[in-house]
């Protein structure tokens, strides 16, 4: 019971070791091991969801005692001589912000594993890497010690590099390297800020320099004369040190989100990645960016965050519009969805920047909702590509007649994504926009026009989704590959239904009962708003 989070994090690692040690004769069993692992994780995370206490006394955010399922162990203690001791803990814990992501992660991992049925080559390496990635993602959402967080955060890069690079499309080398360099660029500078932070923060209980994120959120634990001290503001390279620290962390996470103009790795990575990896990339890794902004950038540097709210809102709006316009221009279905991700993640930024309870709740819900929907969309594209090895929009027409069930799922995914009421994305985007809209009166952070521009983004997403639906799925059947394709285009099989149905249910469920997420995180959202508004 006490080690539930560790179990969740390290179970996949154990499974990966089992797969590595098993002889290749068990090749066909690897996927079952991976699937079983993600299923167990799913049940554990649902158990955590059900047992999660959502009262204000367990809000978490900046109070360590309020976190749930906490595990704490001393890890590294190093005497640094004149400046004191360094303290790194193995500290896991969850609050209302991280808990929904655990459920989402296990669900997405389950779907990604099902999508891995298409992988035929080098199964041992594939599943071992997939499970390693699983460990890293879970760890990121649970870690409360910055050092530990960083290790998990960086651990995500390696498996992804190989997953894209070894099983990807034609330009996989380029895409994998680009992805790796982009993210590393952000995170190396993040490391510098982490070091600056631990020099600045003392654990009042022990007097040691600490990596504890929660202590970093408390202005009281900063040394008076330190770099990131909030009492005596210092300047670095000509600007306020705290603002600089915030910007560096923000850029590191924003590359992951991604924001325009740091998004160019995303279309390449998505197009070249095999389906399961695209699913994880869109469903989880983008969310790590958003989660990091909430948990780390905003919570540790609230003053700088408020200061830069206008810019973050602007970046959000630009991402929404630019991503949507780009999506309109795409001729490759997977690229279109990749750009739609950029657009939809813009709402997350807009909601967070608003600094209102509605906006922040909307942003988190948008991440959960988009996690499910983008996974569904990429899965659907992957199904098409698997069957005929083509995903040019212009090469398909009237698919509804050939694959009626498949089209039904596509319709659900498309309508849910474009923000039709009754689906999760509607709730999420509506709340983000309400937050952005009321921000002018509540705290004066964002001007109204940002919300208005954001809603234009919804309009645009309706345009590209509906247009694609019309071009590819409706009308007379005309396929580039002719009768051969007609043969190959089989409708949804059972396996695929197992993956698609839970995601469709998630979209509808959260659209009708958004309180399934809202109620669990409300206390945390309020605590968070209180933290950033000082």
């Amino acid at each position: 019971m006490n080690h539930l989070l560790s179990f969740l994090v390290f179970l996949p690692l154990v499974a990966a070791l089992v797969i590595i040690l098993l002889p290749s004769g068990f090749r066909d069993r690897f996927k079952h091991i991976a699937l079983g692992t993600s299923l167990i994780q799913f049940f554990v995370s649902v158990f955590i969801y059900l047992n999660f206490n959502n009262s204000a006394a367990f809000a978490g955010v900046n109070k360590e005692s309020q976190f749930q399922f906490v595990e704490k162990m001393a890890w590294i203690r190093l005497d640094l001589g004149s400046i004191g001791k360094l303290e790194i803990d193995y500290l896991l814990g969850i609050d209302g912000f991280s808990m929904p992501f655990l459920v989402l992660s296990s669900l997405i991992m389950f779907v990604a594993t099902l999508a891995s049925w298409e992988i035929k080559a080098n199964l041992k390496a594939f599943f071992a890497l997939l499970l390693l990635l699983n460990t890293a993602v879970m760890g990121v959402f649970c870690a409360l010690d910055f050092f530990l967080f960083y290790i998990f955060y960086e651990l995500m890069l390696l498996p992804l590099y190989f997953l894209i690079g070894m099983w990807g499309g034609v330009r996989r080398e380029y895409a994998a390297m680009k992805f790796f360099l982009y993210t590393l660029f952000g995170s190396v500078f993040m490391l510098l800020v982490i070091i600056g932070l631990y020099f600045s923060v003392l654990n009042p209980a022990t007097g040691n320099h600490t990596f504890n994120m929660i202590l970093m959120m408390d202005p009281g634990s900063y040394l008076g004369s330190s770099v990131f001290s909030s009492v005596a503001p210092q300047s670095l390279l000509g600007i306020s040190a705290r603002l600089l620290g915030f910007i560096v962390l923000f850029v590191a996470f924003a590359i992951k989100v991604p924001i325009v103009p740091l998004h160019t790795w995303l279309p390449d990575a998505h197009v070249e990645a095999p389906t399961p990896v695209s699913i994880i990339l869109a469903g989880l890794l983008l969310k790590v960016g958003g989660y990091g902004i909430l948990r780390i950038c905003y919570s540790i540097f609230p003053d700088a965050a408020i200061q830069s709210a206008w810019w973050i809102g602007l970046i959000g709006v630009v991402s929404i519009l630019y991503g949507a316009l780009n999506a309109l221009a795409q001729s490759d279905l997977k690229r279109l969805i990749a750009y739609s991700s950029v657009s939809h993640m813009g709402f997350v930024l807009l909601g967070i920047a608003s600094g209102t309870a509605e906006g922040v709740s909307g942003a988190v819900l948008q991440m959960i909702s988009h996690g499910g929907l983008s996974a569904m969309l990429f899965f659907l594209v992957g199904m098409l590509y698997n069957r005929v090895h083509d995903r040019e929009i212009a090469n398909f027409r009237g698919l509804a007649l050939v694959m009626p069930q498949y089209t039904a799922f596509v319709v659900i995914a498309f309508f849910a994504s474009l923000g039709l009421p009754g689906f999760s994305a509607f709730m999420a985007e509506a709340f983000s926009l309400i937050g952005a809209f009321t921000s002018q009166e509540v705290n004066g952070l964002l001007p109204r026009w940002m919300a208005i521009c954001g809603s234009v983004g919804i309009l645009l997403s309706a345009a590209y989704f509906l247009w694609t639906l019309q071009r590819m799925y409706f009308g007379q059947t005309r396929l580039k590959g002719g009768d051969k394709w007609l043969q190959q285009l089989k409708d949804v099989n059972t396996n695929e239904k197992f993956a698609l149905v839970p995601l469709a249910i998630l979209a509808v469920l959260l659209g009708i009962f958004p309180s399934l997420v809202f109620s669990k995180m409300n206390a945390s959202v309020l605590a968070f708003i209180q933290l950033i508004s000082g």
Binding site: I76, R77, L78, D79, L80, G81, S82, I83, L86, Y150, I151, E154, L155, L157, L158, Y161, F162, G165, M166, R172, E173, A176, M177, F180, L181, L184, F185, V188, F189, L191, L192, I195, G196, Y198, F199, S226, V227, L236, L237
Partner: protein, 500 residues
């Protein structure tokens, strides 16, 4: 005249006798040197591996003796020629570790084993070099600094040219020797200048320190810099790095692995000693100009990181690439020196331990691939992930560690160095150190680019060659053990840090 010295004779004799008990590890090495020669002379025919065994044993013995001295408080030995302290003992332990790996590496290296010269002489040179290394990190008198440095240098020249079975190797050895001779001449000249200024060769004598505090930087600075040139050569810092790529490529791989670690680490030891008396004057101050000791060191570090890392991008030979990358690593390690205190030394020593593990493992794997397939170029590594799967996975871990990413100890090492540098920035607020830190961060990103060309070729590309499954040799098991250490030390860094 002579009579005046008579009372001193007994004092210095006593001192020497008292010093001997702190000199056991070096005795072990000296004895090892003799025994290796004897065993090579008389028993090499019957027991060809005896010299290796003797070398291994005496190194181990020296290691154990050094380990016992770890808790020893600092003592000056032989009339202030050398000093035995915690830091030097740590360095000595690292040398023992590297030497043991070197002996094993040579034992399983085909070219050296099949050479008609035998390996006995190589091991006797190793013993002598190791003795020199130990003296290097202990010396605190300028004469001793020079002597020990030359002892290591001469040994190194011999090691590089040991086989000289190809013009390339002879060229490398020649280049190394010539370059080294010029640099040590500079060093000697710098030392003589310093001596003529201060009238003392003892780095810690009151005379030396008082001279420094009364004389402006412009007069002792150039002399000190000339002195540092000799060390910079050993460290292959820019602009004294030109020998490194050729020597690394030309020398037998075990020698390359040895040269890229042990003498470099000793160079750091000597650098710390040489800078210590100058430290209160310029390292801790708010000194921000380029024309100061801090400035010179920072510019060198920046140049080394840039040249090393950008140079590595264009290399196609794996060993050359590793040579350039090691130039970058040295520049990076220099960052730890700017906070001239315990935390900085801890960071540097930890980095060195991890660095020697990484480099040894990398060269062993590269050598294994070269022996089995003859492939030396990164391009040729295409598809090796299939035929050498385990070895190449090990290589990936090593490269990840060299880049400084989790989950490997390379990350912890990099983290500690960055910590030290940021601490230096905090206490000085120097813009130059900030630049250094940013260059260090950027060079990490650049290094990823060239290090990952190996997995890129090995795993992401397919080759047309038929897949042959190779049997793993003892060498590859040693490298896998080293890789295991890299993974172990990120979870339990205290296993090293606890002793620092």
């Amino acid at each position: 005249m002579m009579k005046d010295f008579i009372p001193y004779i007994s004092i210095s004799l006593n001192e020497t006798i008292n010093s001997l008990s702190f000199f056991y590890p070096e005795f072990a090495l000296g004895l090892g040197f003799l025994l290796v020669i004897l065993s090579d002379l008389f028993f090499a025919k019957k027991f060809p591996q005896l010299p290796a065994f003797v070398a291994l044993l005496s190194t181990l013995f020296a290691g154990v003796l050094s380990f016992n001295m770890l808790k020893q408080s600092p003592v000056q030995l032989f009339g202030g020629m050398i000093v035995q302290d915690h830091l030097s003992t740590l360095f000595k332990l690292i040398f023992c570790f590297i030497s043991i790996l070197f002996v094993l590496f040579v034992r399983y290296h085909k070219d050296l084993q099949s050479s008609n010269k035998g390996t006995g002489d190589l091991f006797s040179i190793l013993m002598a070099v190791q003795l020199g290394l130990n003296l290097m990190v202990m010396s605190e008198n300028l004469l001793m600094v020079y002597l020990s440095l030359e002892m290591v240098s001469v040994g190194s020249y011999l090691m590089v040219g040991y086989l000289s079975n190809s013009p390339k190797q002879s060229e490398a050895a020649m280049k190394y020797a010539l370059f080294g001779a010029v640099c040590s001449a500079f060093m000697l000249y710098g030392m003589s200048l310093i001596y003529s200024f201060s009238g003392s060769l003892d780095l810690f004598s009151a005379q030396f320190v008082s001279f420094l505090s009364t004389t402006p930087f412009f007069s002792w600075g150039p002399a000190l810099i000339m002195m540092l040139i000799g060390v910079a050569f050993k460290l292959s810092l820019v602009p004294f790095h030109f020998w490194a790529p050729d020597v690394y490529q030309g020398a037998p791989t075990p020698v390359t692995a040895f040269l890229s670690t042990a003498p470099k680490i000793a160079g750091f030891g000597i650098l710390i000693r040489l800078l210590a008396p100058f430290q209160p004057l310029s390292l801790s101050g708010i000194d921000n100009s380029m024309f100061s000791l801090t400035g010179v060191l920072a510019v060198t570090a920046i140049a080394s990181m840039i040249v090393g890392n950008f140079g590595a991008i264009w290399q196609n030979n794996v060993k050359r690439m590793l040579a350039y990358s090691s130039i970058g690593h040295t520049g990076f390690m220099l960052m730890g020196l700017f906070i001239f205190s315990v935390s900085g030394f801890k960071a540097i020593v930890f980095y060195m331990v991890i660095y020697s593990i990484m480099n040894m493992a990398a060269f062993m794997i590269v050598d294994e691939v070269e022996e089995k397939t003859g492939k030396q170029d990164i391009d040729e590594y295409k598809g090796l992930g299939k035929s050498f799967s385990l070895l190449m996975i090990a290589m990936v871990v090593v490269l990840v560690s060299l880049t400084g990413l989790p989950p490997t100890a390379g990350f912890t090492a990099k983290f500690l160095i960055f910590s030290a540098a940021i601490e230096a920035y905090n206490s000085s607020g120097s813009g130059l150190i900030m630049t250094l830190i940013i260059v260090g961060a950027l060079s990490t990103v650049v290094s990823l680019f060239y290090y990952f060309r190996i997995p890129l070729n090995a795993f992401l590309r397919k080759s047309d060659d038929p897949i042959i499954a190779f049997k793993n040799s003892p060498k590859s098991y040693i490298s896998m053990f080293l890789v295991f250490l890299l993974l172990f030390f990120i979870i339990f860094p205290s296993a090293i840090l606890g002793h620092l």
